[in-house]
Subunit: 239 residues, 2 copies
Amino acid sequence: MKITPQSIRIGTRSLPAQGGFLHAQSALDLLGLPFPADWEAFARTHTLTAPTRDFGCGPEATLSLPEFVRLGFAAQTPQARRWQKSAHTLIARMLAGDVRLSAQIAEANPDPQAQRWLHARLENQNARKALMSTVARHGGSELVYGQLGSISNRSVLGSDSATLRRERGVKSTRDGLNTEELLRLSYLESATARAIEERGVHGNEAILGVHRQLAERERQTWGGQRPASRAELSPSQAG
Amino acid sequence: MKITPQSIRIGTRSLPAQGGFLHAQSALDLLGLPFPADWEAFARTHTLTAPTRDFGCGPEATLSLPEFVRLGFAAQTPQARRWQKSAHTLIARMLAGDVRLSAQIAEANPDPQAQRWLHARLENQNARKALMSTVARHGGSELVYGQLGSISNRSVLGSDSATLRRERGVKSTRDGLNTEELLRLSYLESATARAIEERGVHGNEAILGVHRQLAERERQTWGGQRPASRAELSPSQAG
């Protein structure tokens, strides 16, 4: 998710970009704004701090995407008004959970690994939901849901979710995980759901027991001899 | 993608909703706007036409998502300003192709089929890209790309893409396809890529020949005896 495109699509137009920064002149043109004679003064007025980039004719001014959006919403030209309308529509579609928009965004990302991450992220949510519904059918009650998650996190991530969110600077734990971590969590939680069904396990303690056992095995499979870092999964492991 | 949620997440809050319409009072409250004493007059002033919905205490005013967004950008309360800032951030993330946002949007869709569609949509793009790169390695030149797509479309969709876009009211053909159609196209184009490799086919005519043959077979597998509607795939089929 680190590769950045050399052009960024805005509506029907494709603007030149370098490392995620838009070619300022093209971006202002899209908004119907003239390129200022004194860029330094314009940048100061609008608190623009994006670096210059070389688009083939030496260093030129750029706009970061947040800067472009800010200017776009502030401008009053007919072009900017049109752009604002399209931005309104995008926000409404986002709130509606429009998966077509979801696909468009994923396709705008030039990193082939980004789509793999998206698949892993959505699959992870499904694996989690499936485990929760299995647990509910097997007499699991309220507290157990959080505890299952804690065991998964400590085993796969070597950390609790609050620490992880802080360390990786994300609001939702899942957003902070890489594809491999998501895959491992999906695998582990699917394996536990399967074992609960097959063994006819019932009640919180028995469910947690199965999950601890499978978490330990998964960790051994993945990491060989390496012990879980900072993880105290159960009393038997602490000894 | 038809099921609509009974609540819609906006930032960190979850607003009551019915059939995709927001409970107006809660939505205005989020924007720091008082619920108007005379709703009819307020609705006229702001061209609000969303229907009333029953949230448990009889019919109440609602806002469509585009109406909410419009009011949100027009309002000048501190709460609305905060919301505008978060909307700006979302637009910037969308332009950047942020797959975390992509995942969030997909998760906001309560229809389990929507995620299946998203997978099929992204997979379709990958299958198409893989075919194009195979074709390029096997001496395919410019014109052949469009022709391959036409054959796929006529065979699976029974139509050309321009007609389909018009009939289904979409800008991008792929957005107008259902999960089944996307799956069939991915399958067909993957099968053709595989056959081109295996048979060592070379050049436009030979490539198109393979694709026509596989398109016909795929159609027979899928639809049994049913002939392709409106499709004239090759001279030999027209006769």
